[in-house]
Symmetry: C2
Subunit: 233 residues, 2 copies
DNA sequence: TTTTAGAGATTGTATAGACAAGTAGCCTAG
DNA sequence: CTAGGCTACTTGTCTATACAATCTCTAAAA
């Protein structure tokens, strides 16, 4: 692992453990240089990551300070799988695999030029605290992953891609809209007609630039909450 | 202006002008070093910003490549004012100032410990293409801005803070939820009862760590769309 | 023809040093 | 007692260099 990554992880752990509470000052660049015996740019890189993630802010002439964290809800600003999310929030979570079928990428994703793109469709329903709250429709491109075999209940698609197939996911583009629930939503989640659905559609890209999958994640709106950190300039 | 900022801006302009179309390769680190007569770390910093913003991706051993851009909709991943947004999207926009009153920060924002926090409440309604789509409730802390005077129709709150008061906005935290429309929403936006509201609540921080304002931005859900770029790792 | 080896290009990580700019605290001159 | 200045500390920007890791392409070898 890289040095700056190690420093970043250790500082983050200390923040989460409460060693540096809200508004506390992190060690200065020079203190980190001495503590880890690295060059200043290396320590700065570690802290820059924390700034990026919204954990700390730097003020010229004063220092680096912890920003109050209450990241309790559903973040859409990282590519994060449902399983990783649930683990982080320590929620009681459960995923039920509904279907795996041969399919094509639906036209809502506006991919390519009307030529049908063969894909494997995976439909799953996700429970938080035993309540069905999310229905995920994944369309995995056959060009990249010809066949999906070992998808057990306990493995996420991202884990499958990364650990078993050796693919590296780089980034995703997501659109968020609010739409009426369709019949499937209402049936699977047991919804009253009036509850809308937050639809998050994603395209996921590999580190070589190829698209690996399209996902439509349908959340019942009354259980949806997203927390966002955004910098200016 | 900084060197890496200048290089970043120039590269971004060239991308937007189509000099580097989709999937095109950007100049390498060394090419940028020669072109701008800077150290490699400086050119890398400029490109790192473009990666951050989702314009390009770097692939080790191959180069830096432009990512297909269709940033057509409402981004929530930047602190961006309505006015800046409308200008960028070239939409016909109009803002109507409804009220400026003395008030307190509402308890939904969970700020402080139940002690009332004095603020100036600004309520505005925003039109896109002559349709009312957003109602903004801003609560500007009196501790930071004692009085709001020169808020004309043509000036945004952010512009007022930054240009007239010399304050520098650093970052914001936003939560996104979907809620039923209240009576005010329905009346001002002329909504049918069944249309929900996307509520974006923000706390905006200055570069010295102080909170300057809380905002509740209420969008009619059937006109709301957000585009998000997110990196993994 | 196919495979292998290597050279060249490109990005990633790390170091050491320099100066600029902003902040805070102390101490002295008035 | 106050105002100003000095100093130490911190972050921001920039340079020059080195080596590692990965990819592409070419040329040589089997």
């Amino acid at each position: 692992m890289n040095k700056y990554q190690i420093i970043h992880d250790e500082l983050l752990k200390e923040i989460n453990d409460g060693k540096y509470p809200n508004n506390a000052m992190l060690p200065s660049d020079f203190a980190l240089m001495n503590r880890y015996h690295v060059a200043r740019e290396t320590s700065r890189k570690a802290v820059a990551m924390l700034v990026d993630e919204g954990y700390v802010m730097r003020i010229k002439g004063r220092g680096t300070f912890v920003i109050n964290q209450n990241r309790y809800s559903f973040p859409i600003s990282h590519v994060e799988s449902y399983r990783e999310l649930a683990a982080r929030l320590k929620l009681n979570e459960r995923t039920q695999l509904l279907t795996i079928t041969d399919s094509e990428v639906p036209s809502v994703f506006e991919y390519g030029d009307d030529t049908p793109v063969p894909a494997t469709a995976v439909v799953r329903i996700r429970y938080l605290d035993n309540e069905p709250v999310i229905i995920d429709h994944d369309y995995v491109l056959k060009d990249v992953v010809p066949e999906i075999k070992k998808l057990s209940q306990s493995v996420s698609l991202f884990e499958l891609f990364e650990q078993q197939l050796g693919l590296v996911i780089s980034y995703a583009k997501k659109t968020i809209t609010v739409e009426p629930a369709n019949a499937t939503d209402r049936q699977l989640m047991g919804l009253a007609e009036s509850i809308p659905i937050v639809v998050i559609r994603s395209e996921t890209f590999l580190n070589d630039g190829r698209i690996i999958s399209f996902t439509e994640s349908r959340h019942r709106a009354d259980r949806f909450k997203s927390v966002e950190f955004s910098r200016r300039h």
